[in-house]
Amino acid sequence: MALVPALPKRFHGPSVWALYALGLIPAAWAFYLGATGRLPGNAVKEFEHLLGLWALRFLVATLTITPLRDLFGLNWLRYRRALGLLAFYYVLMHFTAYMVLDQMLRIPAIVADIARRPFITIGMAALVMLIPLALTSNNWSIRKLGQRWNKLHRLAYVIAAAGALHFAMAVKVVGPEQMLYIVLVTLLLAWRAVRTPFLRWKRQRTAGARSHTATQKAAG
């Protein structure tokens, strides 16, 4: 079931690099606008929020790879590492912008924020959890860790949930945009719960159809 034409194998590698380049454009463009005084109003906050929003988008995109394959037979596994790392880079930039541009490196204020404000605590926890995932995102770690790698990288579910929650808790009124990410993350995590029975059912159905055809052929 191919929804989109398969990419020729020789483009697989370059397309991943293109994703990294494209993925970093929003940050670079916003930084350029901010540095040249073209972001309206509270430039630092605008920049900070934009980085956070893109982090959340990349987290959601990372978690979408598996259901796309399960449901539509679309194999984009080769992009998942790039999407996950882009999410990590954006979370890191989001935090750096908060620390350097927003709080002007007032360390006591930053520490107090992280300790006392639940939404910042949750955001910080997501950043900390992303570090081991980013560090083990290389092929060597995948080989070395084996099954433990899969277990470790399920942290991505907790991180995405934390990200959506952080976004909703940061605003004065939870609006459509925050709801969208809560719903998306909920659906993507819920898919993990029903995935195994679904795949079993799908396998059985295909197997059943195949044996049915085989029987018909034999009879004919």
Binding site: G34, A35, G37, L39, P40, G41, N42, A43, V44, K45, F47, L101, D102, Q103, M104, R106, A109, A112, D113, R116, R117, P118, F119, I120, M169, A170, V171, K172, V173, G175, P176
Partner: protein, 270 residues
Amino acid sequence: AAELKASGSRYKVEETLTPEKDVTTYNNFYEFGTGKGDPAANSGGFKPAPWRVKVDGLVGKPREFGLEELLALPLEERTYRMRCVEAWSMVIPWVGFPLASLLDKVEPLGSAKYVAFETVVRPEEMPGQSGYFQPLPWPYREGLRLDEARHPLTILSVGLYGKTLPNQNGAPIRLVVPWKYGFKGIKSIVRISLTDTPPPCTWNLAAPDEYGFYANVNPAVDHPRWSQATENRIGEGGFFGSNRRDTLAFNGYADDVAGLYSDMDLRVNF
């Protein structure tokens, strides 16, 4: 926006004015949407004229005021700091008149202790008041103690930067209480009522642990989700300059207003 004639006043903060462009494009006015740019973008269809303000409740002479009558009052330019509860601030040259001069006209009764305010409800002109997602219950309501309302710093503003108020800033008439967080400065007022009980206030009802009735600017009392010790001055410093400054007690108006609260614990009555 039409030009407004106003006299100067002694209430003039000697700090760099926030550029008019920022004052009129970076707003919280949820009746037009929750984004900072929404009020400027979505308020084009709002009609601030004709306009009437009803003043009633515990007063000797309840009545309605047409906007023309209010614009004919002696107008003053007041350059105030404006500190938002979200930890950003501006310096704005308002044009307006003391709320006390309006209250005098209706002769408050001795039993009046509070002043309640209400914003207009016009879903057909205010996109945030219609549709599936509405962030707050309408009308937007605010309130002051009568002595706060009568304080000389408290004004009804009808303009800024020498011109009538843009829709996004609360046209045609809004409250400005410079020692309180910005959300107390209710916009597009249609009703002012004097009461003997504390009036309901929209943000206080929505999240009582985050937004108090008094909402005096206080660097020592944090909002549950962020510190109020410092603030970002909009339109200054840009991306790399230091636009973060210390927040002042009562937004720098402590000498004028601290006495109003001398017998109160401001941590409890935040």
